[in-house]
């Protein structure tokens, strides 16, 4: 009978605790894509996201003795990853306030200025890219906690219970934050969404 993902995670964690740190590679390669995607949604810049993914895994490893095997490893890992991303955002925000007026232009990872207002371009690829930039611009307008809850729900597909476990908050708070995050996103992206009957 095949082992569940949770059992595999627990075995790898146990192997590390038993003195085989190379077993951590299994956990890293198992979750690096998902952690990277979540962090990328938080910090936007791909290179930064990769560095932070590495930091998150290193931090998780160093605190592995605090992980309880009866819990799910990925929610624990996501929590660490999100906190790494949030700390990074706070540091960057302070730097930006000092040196950069972020209202002037949004730049993508390649340094190109995102032409978010250049709609109607016939080139599909360019249009798609602009659309994605608009999505990221909208995500940037959310508070880190709201962004976090949206990503965990929409990208990772976690249940409220899992999100609550990941963020260490009550399920009711998850519901509430998701609602506010969506309302904000809906307001920012209203041009991209079907017309609301309520509005």
């Amino acid at each position: 009978m095949d082992k569940t993902p949770r059992e595999v995670d627990a075995e790898l964690v146990q192997a590390i605790r038993d003195g085989d740190p190379s077993a951590y590679r299994g956990l890293v390669e198992r979750y690096q894509g998902r952690v990277y995607a979540l962090i990328c949604g938080m910090v936007r810049d791909k290179e930064e996201a990769r560095d932070l993914t590495q930091d998150a895994f290193i931090k998780a490893y160093k605190n592995l003795d605090r992980f309880r095997l009866e819990s799910s490893f990925y929610t624990w890992l996501y929590r660490i990853s999100m906190n790494v991303a949030i700390d990074h955002i706070r540091k960057m925000k302070k730097r930006q306030h000092e040196a950069f007026d972020e209202g002037i232009a949004a730049r993508d990872a390649d340094g190109a200025i995102a032409a978010a207002h250049d709609r109607g371009n016939p080139d599909k690829a360019l249009h798609r890219r602009q659309l994605n930039e608009q999505i990221f611009d909208a995500l940037d307008k959310l508070s880190p906690d709201h962004r976090q809850v949206i990503l965990l729900r929409e990208v990772e597909g976690l249940s409220y219970k899992e999100i609550a476990e990941t963020m260490d908050i009550a399920e009711g708070t998850v519901m509430s934050r998701l609602f506010y995050a969506r309302r904000k996103l809906r307001d920012v992206l209203k041009d991209l969404l079907p017309a609301s009957e309520a509005s």
Partner: protein, 399 residues
């Protein structure tokens, strides 16, 4: 709408702006002053004490870290008013946790202290949620769900959001599902949430699709103190024993080593195609002594070998061994060859048309049905050249 409801709605709006970091100084002042306009909220002004206790509790074993937080809270003169505002909206469907966060964000030292707490605490500490729990007291975080009878616009939207996620209790889900068909606004909300999720997911997927995460493990391995990404602790003694065993095994006689090498080579699954014992009918026979071999004859064997090998890589056609002389070639010649071809590999190719010039002979060779097929081109000398080289004139038959 009553005056109190107006105030609460305005509070909600201001809190959202603070939370999003968009509130102006005037709006912050307005936020601070609003609760004071409501007598009903006066009783909540002592809440800052609860908050201070919560922060102290969150700091846990590191009380020195709590100090900057406590000091920051103490310095914020508007704190009691803000916390009152937070408390006031508990009865209303507003996210208390976010409200508290917004209030805390008003004072930068608090933010810095939280970062410090997070960085130093091995387990990530979310002070905000501890604070929120203290504020809520007897009011559970699920309060909006429990207050189903007091639905207003925002609550309805929150419920629809939860419905979209499939997270409502069964009885509530059934109740809302029964009402949905007639509620176009709610249906519109559901559609918008679904589209939002799709947009976010698609955008993130596009951004991360081509990410090279290969270096992640290498960096993590270095970060956690491994000697290298491929290093397996505990393997070294085993590897050393294996090396010794192999070295002992390798100490053989020259003959044994050759046998071993032969055995290894024989076991390797190298692709080989062999064409042997080809019978080349239709080749012209030289009439003169072999000691005086003409130039083209001396070049024939290597030229045919090279051409054959090159063409075999391109062609694999069905059919038996055959010789197709081109116009002007002698079909009645009789010549056998003992040449054998060993081909390293054969590629599949398809030949649709093939034309040769006059005086060029095309040889089609195949070793058995389904075997690799070789096409060879041979440029034939004219009569004068043959005579010059000591060959008798031959009657060429047109085909």
């Amino acid at each position: 709408m009553t005056a109190q409801q107006d105030t609460l709605a305005r509070l909600d709006q201001l809190l959202m702006r603070v939370l999003d970091g968009e509130a102006t100084v005037e709006e912050r002042r307005e936020l601070l002053s609003l609760p004071d306009s409501q007598v009903q909220l006066a009783e909540l002004r002592g809440l800052s004490g609860v908050l201070l206790d919560a922060v102290r509790a969150a700091a846990g074993d590191t009380p020195e870290l709590a100090d900057p937080v406590l000091q920051a809270l103490g310095r914020d003169e508007g704190w009691s008013a803000i916390s009152a505002a937070m408390r006031s909206v508990v009865a209303h469907p507003v996210d208390v946790a976010d409200g508290v966060m917004a209030a805390l964000a008003l004072a930068d030292p608090v933010d810095a202290a939280f970062s410090e707490l997070r960085a130093l605490a091995a387990e990530p500490v979310d002070v905000t949620d501890v604070v929120m729990a203290a504020i809520l007291g007897d009011a559970p975080a699920e309060a909006p769900v429990a207050a189903a009878d007091k639905l207003d616009q925002a609550t309805t939207e929150a419920w629809i959001s939860a419905l979209h996620d499939g997270e409502l209790p069964v009885e509530e889900r059934l109740r809302i599902a029964a009402e949905l068909p007639s509620d176009r606004a709610a249906l519109s909300e559901l559609t918008a949430y679904a589209e939002l999720g799709r947009l976010v997911k698609t955008a993130l997927k596009a951004r991360t699709r081509k990410a090279d995460l290969g270096p992640v493990w290498a960096a993590v391995a270095e970060g956690i103190g491994l000697e290298g990404p491929e290093h397996v602790p505990g393997w070294e003694p085993v590897g050393a024993a294996v090396r010794v065993a192999v070295a002992e095994r390798a100490a053989q006689t020259a003959g044994e080593q050759i046998e071993l090498a032969d055995a290894v080579m024989a076991a390797l699954p190298l692709p080989r195609a062999t064409v042997a014992e080809l019978n080349l009918d239709g080749e012209p026979q030289p009439q003169s002594d072999s000691a005086s071999v003409p130039w083209w004859q001396s070049m024939w064997a290597p030229a045919v070998l090279m051409a054959g090998a090159a063409l075999a890589l391109l062609l694999a056609l069905q059919g038996g061994t055959d010789v197709m002389p081109s116009p002007g070639a002698d079909p009645g010649g009789d010549r056998a060859s003992e040449e054998a071809f060993e081909l390293a590999s054969v590629n599949d190719a398809e030949l649709e048309e093939f034309e040769t010039a006059d005086g060029v002979m095309l040889h089609v060779l195949q070793a058995g049905d389904g075997g690799p097929m070789i096409l060879m081109l041979e440029e034939l000398p004219n009569d004068q050249q043959l005579e010059d080289e000591g060959w008798d004139a031959i009657e060429w038959e047109e085909i």
